[in-house]
């Protein structure tokens, strides 16, 4: 019986002209979004590779150079474009693409895509994630809102029960048919991703494959939740028209309006300081430390006295090492502590905003899926921050190496013309970003993950109850 019901549902879907129309449009959009996304990602990856190579070549081309000059020459950390960014662009357009790495300053990530585009950037990009999150559910609503209500109106439900179908079987086969339809789109996305990867020659490495599989799992869960919702509403609604109205309002509210309201409320509840106030506070704290470039600075004098005692000399000129390197490193370490404190406080506020958003995701599974999708695609804020933290760790190590060379590499105090060897400069490794593992990425979105699982289970329970008491006649 189940098989016959499923065949019936499949046949009905196959004959549904609206599905042919909307499904066709959705497939075309998926293909276009995939191709456009792939093109953007490849262009960005090519430019990044060129920029990284050029930056390294410029670093090496310095030749023998004073370490502190090299520290000011600095470097750049270029945010890598994940292979899965073509699936879900996430917050990437609003996160900068590069960080200037230099002495005396922890710089912010700069040059966001959004800052170089028109106001249209506010309306999002048509990536496969958007299609799966918003458009495929809409197709399921359009196709499935009458799946029970419509058949009840035509009296066909009664006929099916008379022929031996149980109410639950009717409910679950209709849900399964809708879910199966949604999964077809999902399979298409997966195939497209793999095909694009194979076509471009890059392939998909194992960690990326894991992430693709996890993403597909999340969207499979999401489409199941949507299918259940559509069938439940169709079963409970007075008629097909009421089911359609309810589902459309739910879709618009959950997918279009609620995220914007949630974002606004999250930002208002934990407001960030203005950049001016943030920088002024940081500058004030920074100025309380020593100034490695100012020999008259009282704190530098104190450090100098300490070093003179350590080496048993009375004058900086008599030191066997270069005191400038030591004082500049102390200056850096003080600055690092200041930056850690201020950037840490800022990140706490950002975390609070994110927690609020995740709490809303408990009520709105669409937002939960969005958070999970971005995290798995490596395009959420956590990944952006992970990159920023690694870049800053590299910067500190770079500057520390250069100051150490300045201090102990063979020069004497005030010898600013002394140059470190080319071998030393070449021996400093380039910045290589190591993205977080899948486990780390998932751990940061545990609340949305639990919310999605809970919603799916809840809807399954409601679905079971609704199916068991399925009304066969119009009220």
């Amino acid at each position: 019986m189940i098989g016959a019901l499923l065949r019936h549902e499949m046949l009905a879907l196959y004959r549904n002209r609206r599905l042919q129309l909307l499904g066709g449009i959705a497939v075309v959009l998926l293909l276009v979004s995939g191709i456009a996304g792939d093109r953007s990602v490849r262009a960005a990856a090519t430019e990044r590779a060129r920029a990284v190579a050029q930056t390294r070549a410029e670093w090496l081309a310095q030749g023998p150079v004073n370490p502190h000059n090299a520290a000011h020459f600095g470097s750049f950390a270029f945010k890598p474009v994940g292979a899965l960014a073509m699936l879900d662009g996430g917050v990437d357009p609003f996160v900068g693409t590069l960080i200037r790495l230099e002495a005396h300053a922890q710089n912010d990530v700069q040059y966001t895509a959004a800052s170089q585009q028109s106001a249209l950037v506010r309306l999002g990009a048509l990536d496969p994630a958007l299609v799966l999150l918003l458009l495929v559910p809409l197709v399921l609503i359009v196709v499935g809102h009458a799946t029970i209500a419509g058949e009840r109106e035509s009296g066909r439900l009664q006929v099916m029960v008379v022929q031996g179908a149980t109410r639950s079987a009717l409910f679950w086969t209709k849900t399964a048919a809708l879910w199966g339809l949604g999964l077809c789109f999902l399979v298409l996305v997966a195939l497209q991703t793999l095909a694009v990867a194979a076509w471009t020659g890059g392939g998909v490495d194992s960690p990326a494959l894991e992430r693709v599989a996890a993403l597909m799992g999340v969207y499979a869960g999401w489409l199941l939740a949507v299918s259940l919702t559509v069938t439940i509403v169709s079963a409970l609604a007075q008629d097909a028209r009421a089911a359609l109205t309810g589902l459309l309002l739910l879709w618009i509210g959950a997918a279009i309006v609620a995220p914007r309201i949630a974002g606004r409320l999250a930002a208002d509840r934990n407001p960030l300081p203005t950049r001016r106030a943030f920088q002024a506070a940081m500058r004030a704290d920074r100025e309380k430390g020593l100034n490695g470039h100012d020999p008259q600075d009282a704190r530098v004098k104190a450090l100098e006295a300490q070093v003179l005692v350590q080496y048993g000399v009375t004058n900086k000129k008599d030191l066997p090492i270069n005191f400038d390197g030591i004082s500049m490193q102390k200056d850096e370490e003080y600055g690092d502590a200041v930056w850690d404190r201020h950037f840490g406080a800022l990140e706490q506020k950002l975390d609070a905003q994110r927690s609020n958003l995740h709490r809303v995701a408990i009520l709105n599974p669409a937002m939960a899926v969005r958070a999970l999708s971005m995290a798995l695609a490596g395009t959420d804020v956590s990944h952006a921050r992970h990159f920023q933290q690694q870049a800053e760790t590299y910067r500190r190590d770079l500057i520390q190496r250069l100051n150490h060379e300045q201090a102990y590499g063979g020069s004497r105090t005030d010898d600013w013309d002394w140059k470190a060897s080319t071998a030393f400069i070449a021996g400093i490794p380039d910045f290589v970003y190591v993205p977080p593992s899948l486990d780390e990425a998932v751990a940061r979105v545990s609340t949305p993950l639990r919310a999605l699982v809970a919603w799916t289970l809840l809807l399954t329970v409601i679905g079971a109850a609704t199916g068991a008491r399925l009304r066969l006649e119009r009220a």
Binding site: R18, L29, Q117, L120, M160
Partner: protein, 502 residues
Amino acid sequence: MRSMIAAVATAEWHRWRRSWLRVAVLLLYLGAGAYAIVAGQHDVQRWDTAVTAASERAAVNQTETRAMYASGVKGPADEPWVDLAVGYWAEWYSWTSMSVRPQPLAVTARGVSDVRGHVIRVNRFTSAFDVGKNIDLGNPETQALGALDLVFVLTMLMPLVMLVFGFDLLSYEREQGIATVLHVQSASIGRWFAARLIVLAVIVLVPTVGLWLIGAGVSGAFSVQAAAVWQGAGFLSLLVLAWVAAVGAVGAWVTTSATSALTLACLWVAVTLIVPALANQVVSAVVPVGYASEVTNAVRSEQAALYAQPPGAFRPAVYAAFPGLRSAPYAQFDDAADSLRNPDKDMFLREFAEHMLSRRAMEAIWSREVAREQLAMMAQWGSPTVAAQLALTRLAGVDAASHRAFEQAVVPVVRAKLAMLLDGEWNNRKYDVAAFDALVALVPPAARYGGTIGITSWVVLLTWLSAAIAVAVAGLRRPFLSPSPFARFSLDARLSQTTTVS
């Protein structure tokens, strides 16, 4: 016709009295608009405060510097190396902020205002790309969710409100048998249709334009940008009419209200969601944003390359830009040995070269930005929502072009500073308070940017309106009670399929 409108209005009034959904939707619409206005005021206040604080800080610095000139000291007591009579120190202490102040209408739209900088500290080293370092702190996660501003409410939610109010246009008459009554009484279906459209237009137009005018009123836009306010009101009215005509077109062709609602919902999804998102995706693919390599090169390798050259290498370019320097007293040392030249003066030659370097890098960035915007502008032909978003953000001065205009305005100011300094150095000028004030005066006060709605945006809306009217008229010419040619896509189509369960 007047009596027909009165009859439709009366019927509509009775339907409203019975429909809590309509009242709730209208209240939600007005509530969302009011919230967006309050949120917009908060954003603009934050922006304005930042601009004012930066100006005040610069003013304090200038006052302190003038006091030093007046008291005859060389510079701050804790910086004995400073000599304010020397050009580069006078310039260093003459820094001031250049800022873009929000237009009053910025209350109505966020645009790109939170992802671009509004304030920059201007001295001779300033580059336009430094503006990007002063973008206000924001959370990318909330930014990526989209802005809940008044323009979002009026351009994206308004069509949904219209969908709720007008989805059963004519299909209601068909389903309730009113059409048959009209047909039997030989009343003009066309007039009834027009009357219903007029009533629908009024119901949506009043709150939409009302919210816009309230937003403009609370922001004080009537006293500063009155023309823009009325231009926006006119544009929104046209947008409402275009959607009314679209509702009419669907109503004229589709026979059942459920199918009509579905068609309108799909139309809304297409023009407010798919077209803009597709446009964004395509724009990013055609003109990728990349890694601003022009800038990274300019601030590092190319700048380092400048320092590898003697300052004299830049003299021809400087003299070409400022020919008057050739006859200045210091020009007689142009061919002199290095020992006779003043490195403090020659340093400005390299600084001008650095300025030109950063300018060239930013021009490359700007030209790509313009290319992206031109592509985005083309997308408005596919969506009146895109046209409205672009037009209203332009009026509010929160579009990319307005922010770019601010960045571009920085370039001539820095150039003028360098020109004045070069002139002073080449003429061996000592800086007093008057010269200091002249340097300060080169930086213009905080300005407002923005523009008017482009003719293309008006044409786009008129085209949509005309097309929708044409479709509606064609639909009305069919026999009114005949089935829709799109019946196979209707909700009832599935019910007519024959299936057997064995």
